[in-house]
C-alpha cells in the first residue's frame, strides 16, 4: 500500500459529528498513520455527544462533559480540523472539496457524514424569533437565552427527542406543553399501554400533553416579532415564549446530490457503506441503506466499523442492521423498547402489569423466540431481554418465567407478607397497618375480605391492596381461609365486576388504559366482553369527564339503530309516553316511502319500528325524522327505552290519575340515560294496570291516594313480576324515586344485569333502605342522576346526521367497481 512508500493517502471527512469521528477512530484503530486526515465541521465545536443535548439543556451536564473528542485529540492524531466551515462543493473529477470559506482539500477517499437536519414545519410564523429546533449545541444555547422559570415552552412532537427537550425545559422551571400529532406519545417506540403510563408520568411532572393535536400556526408580536403562542387546527391556542420543533429529521443529502451522487431519501450506500462513487463513502444519519435510514446510535456504530474495514482495506465486512433498542433519557422515567414491540399476526404476547409499581412489560414472541419488547417503569431486565432478542435464542423453558426477569426468584408473596413488620402500612388510602388487620381478624373472627373491609376499612377505598389483605387472611387462618369465588369479568382479568367498579371509583381511574393497567389486565386491549362493560362503568362513574369510546360499544349503540339478521337496521323514534301526532305519523310515512323501508311495525313499547333500513340510509332517515321533531328512541341501547302508559283519567272511565302525563314527565326526565341493561318504565292510571307496569323495571300504578311504585319486573325469558317499593302521593315524588332508583341500579348492578336479577341478588330490603328509608341518600342519588343527565340528553341522531367524521361509519370506505 501507499503507506509503505511513505506517501500517505488523503482522507477527507465531511461532518465532524458522532458518525464521522467514530469512523475515524475505527480507522485509526485498524491502520494508524495510513491516512492524512482532514475533517470539516459546520459547527464551531469539536465532536460532542449529541445524545447528551437533553442533559445539557436540563443543566445536568456542561458542554465540556459531553465533548467526545477534544481539540487535543485531533492534534495528537495529526488530524486537521476545519471547524465552523461547511463543505459546499465536491469536485469528483479532480477529487477536491471546497468549503464555504474557500478552503480546498484534495482527497483519495472521501467520507460523507453530513448527518441530518431537523424537519421544520412549513407553517405561518415559523420564522418568528423563539421558534426553533433541537439539534445542536447552538440550539441549546439559543433556548437558554429564552428559558427562565415560569416562562412557557411548547414542544411540538412527542417523540423521543421532543420529550427529552420538554424534560430539559421543565427542569429549567418552564411551564411546558407538548403538542403531538398522534393519539399516543412515542408511538414509534411504545404501544398504547406504555404510552399511557408515560403520559401520566409527564403530566404528574406538571407538563401539559396535547395528543391528536395538529399545529396550524404561530402567532406573536406584529408581522414577524417574537412568538407568543401556538395555534392548533382545532382552534385551541397555547401561550408560548419558546417553541421547540422536534417533529423528525431529514437526511442531509444536499452536498451529495449537488455532486451527482445517487440519493434516495438519504445518500445511497451498499453493504460496504460505499456510494455510487467508489472513492466516496457515506455513513450515519445521512445515508440510506436498503431503503432504510437510521437515527439511533447503535446501528451507526456498526456502520462505522464496516466503513473503516473497507476504507483501510482490512476486511470484507458488510453492514447488517441489528435490532436497536431505545431508552428515553428522562431522569426518573424508566422506559425501554426494542424490535417488533407491536407484534403482528404471527406473534404472541406475554404481558405483565404491576399496578402498584406502575410497571408494564410486554414481550413479543414469534414461535419460540423473542422478537420485541417494551418495558415501562422497570427496565432492570431490559438488557437481558435485548440480548435474548439480538441473539434470537430459543426460549424453551425460559418462556414461563422470563417476564419476571432472569433472576425470577420464587417470588412468594406470603413470604414477603410474613417478613413485613406489624406497623407496615397495608392500606394507604385509610392508613391501616398489618397489625391492625391481623388483630381484627383474630379478635372478630373475620374470614373474608369484605369482613376486613367492614371492620378496618383496609382495601375499602381504591382496593389496590385487596391482594395483600387476602394474603393476611391466608396467613392468619391458614387452610380455613376460603376466598370468595368471584366470577371474573372475562378471560382478560381475574377481577369480578364489583371489584372493577370499586377500583374505578375508588382509584380515580378515568380511562380504559388506566383501568387495564391498575387492574393488571392480561390482554393489551381487552375483548368484546369487557370493553363494553368498562366503557359503561367509566361513563357512569365519571359523567361529563369520561369520553365515550365508540369502538367499545356494541354495533347497535355505535350506529344508534338495531342490527337485524340480514345486516339491515331498524329505526324506532321516541314517542313520549306512547303518544304521537298526525305530523309525526305523516313524517314516518314519508320516510318509509322515500327510503323504500320494507316493514313497519308497532312495538310492545308503544312506538313505531321501521325495519329493513339500509345502513347508508340511516343518516338521511334520521335527518327527515328530526325535521318533524322526532328523536332517537334508544330502542337499540342498554339505556332507558320506553315509558308505556294507558290513557288514564283524561279519557278512561276508570282512571284515577293522569297516567299519560305522568309517563311523559318520567320519560322527559330519564331519556338518554345509559344503564347496565335496557330499562323499561310504565305508568298505569288505575289498579287494572293496562300499561302492564308490574312487569317493568320501574312500574307506577295510580291509586285514589296517589301512586304505588313497583320495581324489578321484566318480561322476557325469565318472567318476573315487580315488588312494591313504596307508595307516594305527588308526581314530584314519583320522578325523584324513579331517578334515585335508576341511579342506584346503574351504579351498583353489573353490566348486562337487569333490575330483576339485581334485586334478587341484593334483595328488595336493601333497595328500600337506600331509596325509601334514607331521604338524604335518595335526594343525593336523584341529584347525581340529574347531573349525569346534563351530558346525555342530546339526540344522538341529530349529532350523527350533522357530523362528517361521525358519519363516516355509515358508508363504505371505498367502492371498487
Amino acid at each position: 500500500m501507499n503507506s509503505m512508500t511513505g506517501i500517505r493517502k488523503k482522507l477527507v471527512v465531511v461532518g465532524n459529528g458522532m458518525a464521522g469521528m467514530r469512523t475515524v477512530e475505527e480507522i485509526l484503530r485498524r491502520a494508524p498513520g495510513m491516512f492524512d486526515i482532514t475533517v470539516f465541521g459546520a459547527e464551531a465545536q469539536p465532536n460532542y455527544d449529541r445524545i447528551m443535548l437533553s442533559p445539557l439543556l436540563a443543566g445536568d451536564k456542561t458542554f465540556e462533559q459531553i465533548v467526545l473528542n477534544s481539540l487535543e485529540w485531533y492534534a495528537e492524531h495529526y488530524i486537521q480540523l476545519i471547524a465552523g466551515e461547511a463543505v459546499t462543493e465536491i469536485d469528483r473529477a479532480h477529487r477536491t472539496v471546497t468549503g464555504a470559506k474557500g478552503t480546498v482539500a484534495d482527497y483519495d477517499i472521501l467520507l460523507l457524514a453530513t448527518g441530518s437536519n431537523p424537519f421544520v414545519l412549513p407553517l405561518p410564523g415559523t420564522a418568528r424569533p423563539g421558534v426553533m429546533t433541537f439539534r445542536s449545541v447552538a440550539d441549546v444555547e439559543q433556548m437558554l437565552t429564552i428559558a427562565a422559570p415560569h416562562k412557557r415552552a411548547v414542544v411540538i412532537g412527542g417523540g423521543l427527542l421532543g420529550l427529552e427537550a420538554a424534560h430539559g425545559l421543565n427542569l429549567r422551571g418552564m411551564a411546558v406543553s407538548v403538542v403531538h400529532l398522534m393519539p399516543t406519545l412515542m408511538e414509534r417506540q411504545l404501544d398504547a399501554s406504555a404510552a399511557h403510563l408515560l403520559e401520566r408520568n409527564l403530566t404528574e411532572r406538571g407538563m401539559a400533553i396535547y395528543t391528536c393535536a395538529d399545529t396550524q400556526s404561530f402567532d406573536g408580536e406584529g408581522e414577524d416579532g417574537p412568538v407568543h403562542g401556538v395555534i392548533l387546527k382545532d382552534g385551541r391556542r397555547i401561550a408560548a415564549d419558546l417553541v421547540v420543533m422536534a417533529v423528525g429529521i431529514r437526511p442531509n443529502v444536499n452536498l451529495a446530490k449537488s455532486a451527482g451522487i445517487a440519493c434516495g431519501r438519504g445518500v445511497l450506500v451498499d453493504d460496504a457503506m460505499r456510494t455510487c462513487d467508489p472513492a466516496i463513502f457515506a455513513i450515519g444519519e445521512c445515508v440510506e441503506h436498503n431503503k432504510q435510514c437510521y437515527g439511533l446510535v447503535a446501528p451507526i456504530w456498526d456502520m462505522a466499523k464496516v466503513a473503516a474495514d473497507h476504507i483501510c482495506g482490512v476486511a470484507q465486512s458488510g453492514f447488517v442492521p441489528a435490532a436497536a433498542g431505545t431508552r428515553l433519557k428522562v431522569s426518573g422515567i424508566e422506559m425501554f423498547s426494542a424490535g417488533m414491540f407491536m407484534g403482528d399476526e404471527t406473534t404472541e404476547d406475554i404481558l405483565l402489569r404491576d399496578a402498584g409499581r406502575g410497571v408494564y412489560k410486554r414481550l413479543v414472541l414469534r414461535g419460540d423466540r423473542l422478537v420485541g419488547a417494551v418495558c415501562f417503569g422497570d427496565t432492570r431486565d431490559a438488557g437481558w431481554y435485548f440480548q435474548l432478542l439480538k441473539d434470537g435464542e430459543v426460549l424453551g423453558e425460559l418462556r414461563e418465567t422470563m417476564i419476571s426477569g432472569p433472576a425470577s426468584v420464587s417470588s412468594d408473596p406470603n413470604k414477603t407478607l410474613t417478613m413485613m413488620p406489624g406497623h407496615a402500612e397495608i392500606c394507604g388510602c385509610n392508613g391501616v397497618s398489618k397489625s391492625t388487620i391481623c388483630n381484627a381478624i383474630e379478635a372478630f373472627e373475620l374470614c373474608s375480605v369484605d369482613d376486613v373491609r367492614a371492620k378496618t376499612k383496609a382495601s375499602a377505598s381504591c382496593g389496590s391492596c385487596t391482594g395483600l389483605v387476602e394474603g393476611l387472611l391466608k396467613l392468619s387462618l391458614g387452610d380455613k381461609f376460603a376466598p370468595d369465588a368471584v366470577k371474573p369479568m372475562c378471560k382478560c382479568t381475574s377481577n369480578g365486576h364489583d371489584e372493577v367498579r370499586r377500583r374505578i371509583k375508588g382509584g380515580g381511574l378515568k380511562t380504559m388504559h388506566a383501568v387495564m393497567q391498575a387492574l393488571e389486565w392480561r390482554t393489551a386491549d381487552g375483548c368484546a366482553s369487557c370493553r363494553p362493560a368498562l366503557n359503561f362503568y367509566l361513563l357512569s362513574a365519571w359523567p361529563g369527564e369520561y369520553v365515550d369510546d365508540a369502538q367499545s360499544r356494541f354495533v347497535n349503540e355505535r350506529v344508534h339503530a338495531n342490527i337485524q339478521k340480514d345486516g339491515t337496521y331498524s329505526v324506532v323514534p321516541r314517542m313520549w309516553g306512547g303518544t304521537t301526532t298526525a305530523g309525526e305519523l305523516r313524517a314516518i310515512a314519508d320516510v318509509v316511502d322515500k327510503f323504500n323501508i320494507p316493514a313497519v311495525k308497532v312495538t310492545g313499547g308503544q312506538r313505531i319500528d321501521m325495519l329493513g333500513v339500509k345502513k347508508e340510509d340511516l343518516r338521511a332517515v334520521w335527518e327527515d325524522l328530526n325535521a318533524a321533531g322526532l328523536v332517537s328512541g334508544h330502542a337499540y341501547g342498554k339505556a332507558l327505552r320506553t315509558v308505556k302508559t294507558c290513557v288514564g283519567s283524561q279519557w278512561c272511565r276508570f282512571g284515577v290519575q293522569d297516567s299519560t302525563a305522568m309517563g311523559v314527565a318520567l320519560e322527559k326526565a330519564t331519556w338518554g340515560s345509559w344503564h347496565p341493561h335496557k330499562v323499561k318504565l310504565a305508568v298505569s292510571g288505575c289498579p287494572r294496570n293496562c300499561a302492564e307496569a308490574t312487569i317493568k323495571d320501574f312500574g307506577v300504578i295510580a291509586t285514589e291516594a296517589g301512586w304505588d311504585l313497583h320495581v324489578g319486573g321484566n318480561g322476557g325469558i325469565k318472567l318476573r313480576g315487580t315488588e312494591l317499593l313504596c307508595k307516594v302521593t305527588s308526581e314530584e315524588e314519583v320522578i325523584e324515586y324513579a331517578c334515585a332508583f335508576l341511579q342506584l341500579y346503574r351504579m351498583e348492578a353489573r353490566y348486562l344485569e337487569r333490575t330483576a336479577p339485581w334485586i334478587e341478588r341484593v334483595e328488595l330490603k336493601y333497595v328500600q333502605e337506600k331509596i325509601v328509608d334514607n331521604a338524604e341518600l335518595r335526594r343525593a342519588l336523584f341529584e347525581d342522576f340529574l347531573y349525569a343527565q346534563k351530558f346525555t340528553q342530546t339526540d344522538p341522531w341529530a349529532q350523527e346526521a350533522a357530523s362528517e367524521v361521525l358519519g363516516r361509519k355509515y358508508s363504505a370506505m371505498a367502492e371498487l367497481v
Partner: protein
C-alpha cells in the same frame, strides 16, 4: 382468494385515519363487501365482510387484539387467518392489505 398474496395489484382505498383504531370500514367490490380492520397498533387486515356462521357483517363487530367479534352471534374471527376461534369452526376468506405512507392498500383481485 386465500393463500398466495404475491403479485397482486394493490389499490389505494383511503387514508388510515378513516378507519378508527380498533374499528373497521367496509369496501364495496363487484364480488361483495370486504371489511378492512385496524388494530390498536395500526396494523390493517382485510376479510370478506361475512361471518362464516350466518354472514353477519364483521365490520360492525368489536375489534380486540387481532380478532373481531361478530355482532350477530358473538363468533370470534381471527383477523390474521379468517378462522373462527374457540369451539366454533369456519373460515372467512382474507385479502392482502397493508399501510404505506399513511394510505391503506388493498389487493382484492384473484390471487396470481
Amino acid at each position: 382468494m386465500d393463500g398466495n398474496f404475491a403479485n397482486q395489484q394493490f389499490v389505494d382505498i383511503g387514508a388510515l385515519e378513516e378507519i378508527p383504531r380498533l374499528g373497521a370500514r367496509s369496501v364495496k367490490t363487484t364480488s361483495g363487501d370486504i371489511g378492512v380492520f385496524r388494530t390498536a397498533d395500526d396494523q390493517v387486515f382485510a376479510l370478506r365482510d361475512h361471518c362464516p356462521h350466518k354472514q353477519g357483517p364483521l365490520t360492525q363487530g368489536i375489534v380486540h387484539g387481532t380478532s373481531v367479534t361478530c355482532p350477530l352471534h358473538g363468533w370470534v374471527i381471527s383477523l390474521a387467518t379468517g378462522q373462527a376461534q374457540g369451539l366454533d369452526s369456519g373460515c372467512t376468506p382474507r385479502f392482502a392489505a397493508k399501510v404505506e405512507h399513511g394510505r391503506v392498500l388493498l389487493a382484492f383481485g384473484p390471487a396470481a
